[in-house]
């Protein structure tokens, strides 16, 4: 009796996923728009993209409408126990007044937002250290009103890499000029909840956005789809030869006419 052929083993789930999404250079990325934090009155916007390859993070960050000529701290926030969202307006009423703060319910501080987005896991500095220790390194953040920068060399832990890829981290850009005096000042806001040596205006959150998992493996740049055959003059040879023939024919006729005139 013939033995039945052994069925080929079915593809493992991992193998099927690999076929479905061909390997790209990065493990994945997360991205999102930045919108004004409620209550704090910033009229601005922005976008961020976080790309992870192993434990290396590269990011792009752009924002507009921030206080001019002032540094804007920016961080990736995450905490497992947080809601992984941006704060809602009622968060502004949760904390007591800080030193020098006359109307605490009109300011949504970084601390008041923490239950929503968690603590700092990456400082999005323009150079150097990117750990939470650099959270207030104001000399290594970009200056408003418009910021746009990228880095490709940020080392993170495996945990943070996974958190980013999960689409649950939040990017927060800080710095709010409540009294519109053109600088970070004590005004009615008083001291910062993060460091009493700084004005609260320097550290309160201005823009916030959840970095959702990218829906595709993000390509780099544009596409080279064309080599210019339809640009410029084509058929030069045909036009040239045709032109010579035209001239030749015209010359013959001219000579005949000349001869006829002369005869």
């Amino acid at each position: 009796m013939k033995r039945a052929a052994v069925a080929a083993p079915a593809l493992s789930l991992a193998a099927m996923l690999a076929l479905a999404s061909p390997a790209a250079a990065a493990d994945g990325s997360a991205q999102g728009d930045l919108a004004p934090v409620p209550v704090n009155g910033v009229e601005g916007s922005g976008e961020g993209m976080l790309t992870v390859e192993g434990t290396t993070l590269s990011f792009t960050l752009a924002a507009q409408g921030l206080l001019a000529d002032a540094p804007h701290a920016a961080h990736i926030h995450y905490a497992e126990e947080s809601m992984n969202t941006c704060p809602t307006a009622d968060a502004a009423t949760t904390a007591e007044a800080l030193e020098g703060e006359t109307n605490p319910d009109e300011h949504l501080t970084t601390t008041e937002g923490a239950p929503f987005y968690g603590g700092i896991v990456v400082s999005l500095t323009t150079s150097g250290d990117t750990s939470p220790d650099s959270g207030l390194a104001v000399d290594r953040f970009a200056t408003g009103p418009d910021i746009e920068y990228m880095r490709g060399d940020v080392e993170v832990s495996e945990e943070v890499a996974a958190d980013i890829l999960s689409g649950e981290t939040v990017v927060v850009v800080h710095g709010v000029d409540y009294d519109s005096d053109g600088a970070y000042s004590m005004g009615e806001r008083g001291v910062s909840d993060l460091d009493p040596a700084l004005p609260g205006e320097a550290t309160d959150p201005a823009l916030c956005g959840v970095m959702a998992a990218s829906q595709m493996s993000m390509p780099e740049g544009g596409v080279d789809t064309g080599d210019g055959a339809t640009s410029g003059i084509e058929n030069i040879g045909l036009i040239g030869a045709g032109g010579i023939a035209l001239l030749g024919g015209a010359a013959l006729i001219a000579r005949r006419r000349l001869a006829a005139d002369n005869s």
Binding site: T225, G226, D227, S231, L246
Partner: protein, 233 residues
């Protein structure tokens, strides 16, 4: 008496072409030459159309409001299945094409269809969602080739809001998208998030080249991108 002046005086009369022959040759040269010039000029391909919607790279301030907010999928939504595209049809510009597949080059840029039988076919970027899935389905096509002139997406820049694109999938189903924007972006300032960024629902990006042709680099300087979103049948 001589018929013609000049060197032909020396040719014995019996060997000179008669008037009728000269006239016929003149006529042939004029006809042939004229036809050649006419064909050469008429056969001239126009440069590919640049989209009328505007050619400047959008500043970041225009992007945040221009695009839908990123999708947050609720756990109860079952994701659309991934069914690859096999054919593409764009009635407004009379384009029908099979759809092949491309991936990324080692440097992370999009592969393009290679010279050969698939060169003039549209190509789906496999790293992007399949048609009907949430996110931008990316399909590219050449604008032209040295061998054959205009290619599959030569007329892409003529599309306008309201035009439709039908994508047939491997299971025979058809997904229809409606164009809502056509833009030209410089390749050296390509707005990655505008083109490939997350979307609320299923969308489509058709990409080809356009703008000025740089003969030093051998490439067009812009990409023409058609933005479309799925419409329910």
């Amino acid at each position: 008496m001589p018929d013609d002046a000049g060197p032909e005086e020396r040719t014995p009369r019996a060997l000179r072409p008669g008037r009728k022959v000269v006239a016929a040759v003149a006529a042939l040269l004029l006809l042939g030459g004229g036809t050649a010039v006419a064909v050469g000029l008429l056969d001239q391909d126009a440069a590919p159309t640049s989209p009328t919607a505007g050619a400047s790279a959008p500043s970041p301030s225009t992007t945040a409001g221009a695009l839908p907010a990123p999708e947050t999928t609720t756990p109860s939504e079952a994701p659309e299945p991934r069914i690859p595209p096999t054919e593409l049809s764009i009635p407004a510009i009379d384009v029908q094409s099979a759809v092949t597949r491309v991936g990324l080059n080692p440097d992370g840029t999009l592969e393009v269809p290679q010279p050969g039988p698939d060169y003039d076919k549209a190509a789906w970027y496999e790293g992007s969602p399949a048609p009907g899935q949430t996110g931008p389905t990316v399909i590219e096509g050449h604008v032209d080739s040295a061998e054959n002139g205009p290619s599959v997406f030569y007329d892409l820049g003529e599309l306008a809001a309201g035009d439709t694109v039908d994508i047939t999938r491997e299971d025979g189903s058809v997904v229809t998208f409606e164009v809502y924007d056509v833009q030209a972006f410089p390749k050296d300032e390509f707005p990655t998030l505008d083109v490939y960024g997350n979307t609320e629902g299923p969308e489509l990006r058709l990409i080809t080249c356009g703008g000025e042709f740089n003969s030093d680099s051998g490439h067009y300087v812009n990409n023409t991108v058609v933005f479309a979103r799925q419409v329910q049948a």
